[in-house]
Structures are given as structure tokens and as C-alpha cells.
Symmetry: C2
Subunit: 136 residues, 2 copies
């Protein structure tokens, strides 16, 4: 077990086994956040599928599927015996309707948490926080 990458993935990678979102997609979503936000930089090495699987309590093939998905998005280079290496990745061409679809997803996410009782105040607080983080 190599401490080098553990320290990088551990903090954010929490799997919710009771969620309806499949585990491999939770892994993808978490790692993609770190990749987009720069917490994982080109050249960094991710844990091996077996290591991360053990850590998360899932089968290594489940992790492998997540890694493959990220590789297909251009984020990772997968090689035997070397693990997964983060790549330099150019932003793809923006799809038409992307903004409209984002708006809809955002609305639905907000509706969901409002329905769960989260206050409008807390929601705007988080929205503003993320807006600020983006403009840095």
C-alpha cells in the first residue's frame, strides 16, 4: 500500500452503499470532480484497482470499470503494472444545448434538496460559494 496516492484520494472518495447511484458511477463522479478541480494533476498516479477496491469495500472490477470510463473520457492512461496515470486533457468542444441541460439538472438538484428540507438560505449559500470558487 503506497501512502503517496492514498492521501490524495481518501478525503473525497466516500461511497454510499445505500444510494441508488451505482458504485462505479459514484467513483467516477468523485474522481472527475478532483480532476476538474485540479486536486489530481497530470502525471499523478491513482491507486491500483485492487487497492482502491479494498479501501472502498467493493470488488476491484467495479473500480476498474470506473477507471475505464474516465479513461474513455480522456482523463486517465491505464497500463498494466503501472496503474492509472492522470493525463493532460484538452477541454472538448461544447455541445449545443449544454447550458440548457445544465440549467435543468441544477433546478432538479435544487428541487430535490429543497424537498428534503434544506433551506433556501443554505442553498443560496452553497451556490454563492461555488460561484466564488469558480471565479478564482
Amino acid at each position: 500500500m503506497n501512502a503517496e496516492h492514498k492521501s490524495e484520494t481518501d478525503p473525497t472518495l466516500k461511497i454510499d452503499h445505500s444510494s441508488t447511484v451505482p458504485v462505479y458511477r459514484q467513483v467516477v463522479d468523485n474522481l472527475r470532480s478532483m480532476l476538474v478541480e485540479g486536486a489530481l494533476k497530470p502525471g499523478d498516479t491513482l491507486p491500483t484497482v485492487r487497492e482502491l477496491g479494498l479501501e472502498l469495500g467493493v470488488h476491484f472490477n467495479t473500480v476498474a470499470e470506473a477507471y475505464r470510463l474516465l479513461a474513455s473520457e480522456g482523463w486517465l492512461d491505464l497500463r498494466r503494472r503501472r496503474g492509472a496515470v492522470v493525463l493532460e486533457r484538452a477541454a472538448p468542444r461544447q455541445q449545443p444545448e449544454a447550458e440548457a441541460r445544465f440549467n435543468r439538472s441544477l433546478r432538479q438538484l435544487i428541487a430535490q434538496v429543497r424537498a428534503e428540507g434544506l433551506s433556501v438560505r443554505a442553498i443560496t449559500h452553497e451556490l454563492e460559494r461555488l460561484t466564488r470558487e469558480l471565479s478564482i
Copy 2:
């Protein structure tokens, strides 16, 4: 076919059959948005499961499952022969960690659309738009 409710549900209820999100959950998410935002108000009647199923091109049982889910969240009253009626609904007690989980979901959504090429500018624009809408 009653024109009364069709005009209310049509505009926003678009199903993407190619999406990985199951149809019944797309229906739930769309309707929940309308409920939270007040586009559907207490006393309003939704289309029958067969009507909406026909309109969306899915089996009526799929719509029924969506309605049942919303009913279990306290939004709808389902009665035979009357269709689904929107209820008055008190906001439930906020769960601990709700804000943290919202923050994570929001980050992941943003990371996803950034990875798809949506510009930071467009994202902040949408975030600010939703923030403004909430404070009204």
C-alpha cells in the same frame, strides 16, 4: 383527454430515452421541480397515468411508479378514478449533513458539465441566475 392539466405538464416534461437516468426517475425529477417551484400547486390535478404514459411514449405502469414515489414523498394524493391530486406539503425536517451532501452533488454536476466543455463563464451565469430566482 383533458386539456386542463396537459397544458401544465407538457412544457417541462421531456423524457430522454437515451439517458442513463431511468424514465420513471426523469418523470419524478421533472415533476418535483414543478412542485417545488410552484408550477404545480395544491389542488391541481395531474394527468392520469395512462394519459401521461401515452404522451411520453412509455408504459402507464412506469408513470404509476413515478407517481407512487412522489406520493411517498408527500406531494401527491392518488385515488382511483380521480387521478393524482397535488397536496399541501409541509417541509420535512432537514437532515444533518444535507448541506454537505448538496455541496458534493453540486461540485460533481459542475465537474461533469465542465468536462463536457461548458465554459466556467456559462456555469457561473447559470449559478447566479438560479441564486437570483431563489431569493425572489
